[in-house]
């Protein structure tokens, strides 16, 4: 993974010092609250229900073992012993003290971590495929471009005060595991007719209050033009995006208001002015950054292992975990392991400091010392030898990190909701527990197959409920929490927005309602049809009828 050079380290150190000074001026009364708000958000610091919340950047989901240990230390020293992974692959700490934050950031800077632009109306952490670099279907590893974008966007002097937040995702190939179609900019690595590798560029996707699927602005962009084209798009947005209403300020609103063709004309005209400038990426720079993401030195005889097959044959629990929680690696003899942060009755995406330390140790022992976070709030050890899987599974199981539910209903993506978040309209954690309790039987979940459940505690949609196969949105009705259910969303290459099935249900009826929805699926399903395909085939009516049938 990327290693800081002197410039990278200096920049992060100086950002810590700057934030320390900003905090000092605020506490001394020299910096107005409203202004400090914008500045602290740009450094990932919110003020929540109980305490400030600090969001630390995990650039495109990559962490070293050393970084994970540092996060564990932060959780232990300044928080209540745990952290929460987010759908932007970042990690949040829910209990730091405002005056401690500069010290936390200084500690993180020692391991090349920061909280730069994890919130605020600026360019956020670029996300990508959690299997980047190790999956057979990718055209090229997207992570070097994520890092190039990270550097270009960090403390960009022109784009620190955009109309609203700005999120970029990159997919490395035709299978989209980065939700790129629901980002302000989605980049797809593609190969053109001449065999050159470049980017298809989408713009104006997003979730939140007004969910929109991104539109193609350019079918093919050469690699060297990546930054100049991004700069052109964002300059047009910065100048023309709405500033009068924060709910209408995202780029998707501008693109829809102008129409994609007019928006494209503006961007292309701007790009014409800068496409031959110093923004052109040099081959040397691309190669330099690519050099940090070279394949590991895999063992040539890893594929000769026979112990895995034996273990799979003799241990059904291990076999289930293997099937659900590991993924084929492009190098024969290796698998990518998904470390489930979706344990039974545990807040989704939460991880204790002991678990962080353990995962760090396991990555050192089994996976070249690297860990990834996913936009579905799990972790990945991407390069594990087949021969090590059984041992790894046993240790993960001990630590409650091996629930074999990846890709199933209880692999829920859930925001912290009203228990923590000041923006939330409704709580989410209790409802997640209710679903966990109702659908505890793994065999039933395996029979149901792939189902993506996303639950957000408010319309800001941090948990991407619009693109869950099943989406749950918490709403406030006269002080009570109610839950609106959508079906048919997807954030993959077949991206679609879920549709609401009817009026919201009460908080104690959510799991029962899901049970009815799933009963319709089981009844209507053709062979091994996936839930999402069934919903698309039969439409919402059968589900509505069942869920809202008058009680007998």
């Amino acid at each position: 993974m990327y290693q800081y050079n002197q410039v990278d380290q200096q920049l992060v150190n100086e950002r810590v010092a700057q934030f320390r000074d900003q905090t000092r001026r605020f506490l001394a009364g020299d910096l107005p609250e409203d202004e400090f708000l914008a500045l602290r958000l740009m450094n990932g610091l919110y003020v929540q229900r109980h305490a400030p919340m600090l969001r630390v950047a995990v650039p495109y989901g990559m962490m070293s073992a050393q970084q994970m240990r540092s996060l564990a230390n932060v959780a232990r020293t300044w928080d209540k012993g745990y952290g929460h992974f987010t759908t932007r692959t970042n990690i949040q700490f829910n209990w730091p003290k405002l005056e401690d934050v500069p010290d936390i950031l200084e500690e993180l800077a020692k391991v090349q971590m920061h909280a730069i632009q994890t919130s605020g109306n600026c360019i956020r952490n670029t996300t990508t495929d959690q299997f980047a670099g190790i999956i057979a279907d990718e055209i090229e590893d997207p992570r070097p471009y994520c890092e190039i974008i990270r550097q270009w966007s960090s403390l960009h002097p022109e784009f620190a005060f955009l109309p609203r937040k700005f999120k970029i995702a990159i997919s490395g190939g035709p299978t989209d595991r980065a939700a790129s179609q629901v980002h302000d900019i989605g980049l797809h690595i593609v190969k053109n007719d001449a065999g050159e590798v470049g980017f298809e560029v989408l713009v104006g996707g997003g979730l939140g209050r007004t969910p929109v699927i991104g539109k193609q602005i350019r079918p093919f962009l050469q690699k060297k033009d990546l930054l100049s084209y991004l700069e052109a798009i964002i300059r047009v947005y910065n100048l023309k995006g709405r500033r009068d209403n924060k709910y209408k300020a995202r780029i998707k609103i501008l693109v829809n208001a102008l129409g994609i063709d007019t928006f494209r004309e503006l961007v292309e005209a701007e790009w014409e002015q800068i496409k031959d400038s110093d923004l052109v990426l040099t081959d040397a720079e691309i190669s330099r950054v690519q050099g940090f993401f070279k394949p590991f030195e895999y063992e040539a005889d890893a594929a000769n292992d026979t112990s895995l097959d034996a273990k799979l044959a003799e241990d059904a629990s291990f076999a289930a975990w293997f099937r659900q929680n590991t993924v084929e690696h492009k190098v024969s003899g290796y698998r990518a392991v998904i470390v489930s942060l979706k344990a039974h009755l545990v807040p989704k995406g939460d991880i204790s400091h002991q678990q962080m330390d353990l995962v760090a140790d396991l990555s050192d022992k089994y996976s070249f010392g690297e860990i990834r976070s996913t936009h579905n709030q799990n972790l990945v050890l991407a390069d594990v030898r087949n021969a090590d899987l059984y041992e790894l599974w046993e240790i993960l199981s001990e630590a409650n990190l091996a629930r074999a539910n990846v890709g199933t209903l209880t692999d829920m993506t859930v925001c912290p909701g009203g228990d923590f978040c000041a923006l939330a309209n409704a709580k989410t954690l209790g409802v997640a527990d209710q679903i966990d309790a109702k659908f505890e039987d793994l065999d039933y979940l395996y029979d149901l197959g792939d189902i993506k459940l996303n639950m957000s505690g408010c319309i800001n949609a941090c948990s991407h409920h619009h693109v869950g196969h099943i989406g749950i949105l918490g709403v406030d009705k006269k002080g009570e929490d109610w839950y609106q259910i959508t079906l048919g969303g997807s954030d993959g290459e077949d991206a679609s927005l879920g549709k609401v099935i009817g009026k919201a249900v009460a908080s104690d009826e959510v799991a029962d309602t899901l049970e009815k929805v799933l009963a319709v699926f089981v009844e209507q399903r053709i062979e091994d049809e996936r839930f999402i395909d069934c919903v698309r085939r039969i439409g919402l009516s059968p589900f509505k009828e069942k869920v809202y049938a008058p009680a007998h």
């Binding site: 920049l11 010092a17 001026r25 910096l31 202004e35 100048l239």
Partner: protein, 158 residues
């Protein structure tokens, strides 16, 4: 109002921002763009220098066509969170403007360095936001990734 030009405090500034009522005063004046466009004829024969102030809501195409008709262009920041002025300054530089680009309105410590990098050479800071500390704003960072108006070379071309 405290004024920094090229990062240094300046005591004597000849420029005054005018409105509809004070438009006819003598001396060097900065006229909001809309007011300037309405009164272009009457303003053409006056003595003293003439500058315009633009903001994010203005269509600045005509200014960009011939920016050097003005010795100074002020860019107004209506609020902390309004970052349009950063892009406007870069457009002015790109259009070949060689006069002074002055940041006005909500201008304070934590954006001064970004403003300078985007091409502002004059920073007008409200008195209640000014202290000796603002001078530190320019030395908080010794490194940067992007090219901008101060140096067009991104880190990979340095």
């Amino acid at each position: 109002m405290p004024l920094l030009i090229n990062r240094e405090p300046v005591e004597n500034d000849s420029w005054t921002l005018v409105d509809e009522d004070t438009l006819q005063q003598s001396g060097d004046i900065i006229v909001p763009l809309a007011l300037y466009q309405e009164n272009q004829d009457s303003l053409s024969n006056r003595e003293g220098h003439l500058a315009v102030q633009v903001s994010g809501d203005d269509n600045i195409d005509t200014v960009l066509e011939n920016p050097n008709q003005f010795p100074l262009i002020a860019v107004f920041f209506p609020a902390v969170r309004d970052g349009r002025g950063f892009s406007i300054a870069r457009l002015l530089k790109r259009a070949g403007f060689t006069g002074q680009i002055r940041a006005t309105g909500d201008v304070s410590h934590d954006r001064l360095d970004f403003m300078t990098r985007c091409g502002f050479d004059a920073l007008e800071i409200p008195a209640d936001r000014y202290s000796e500390e603002v001078h530190n704003a320019f030395s908080e960072f010794s490194v940067r990734y992007q090219g901008a108006e101060d140096d067009s070379r991104p880190v990979y071309r340095q």
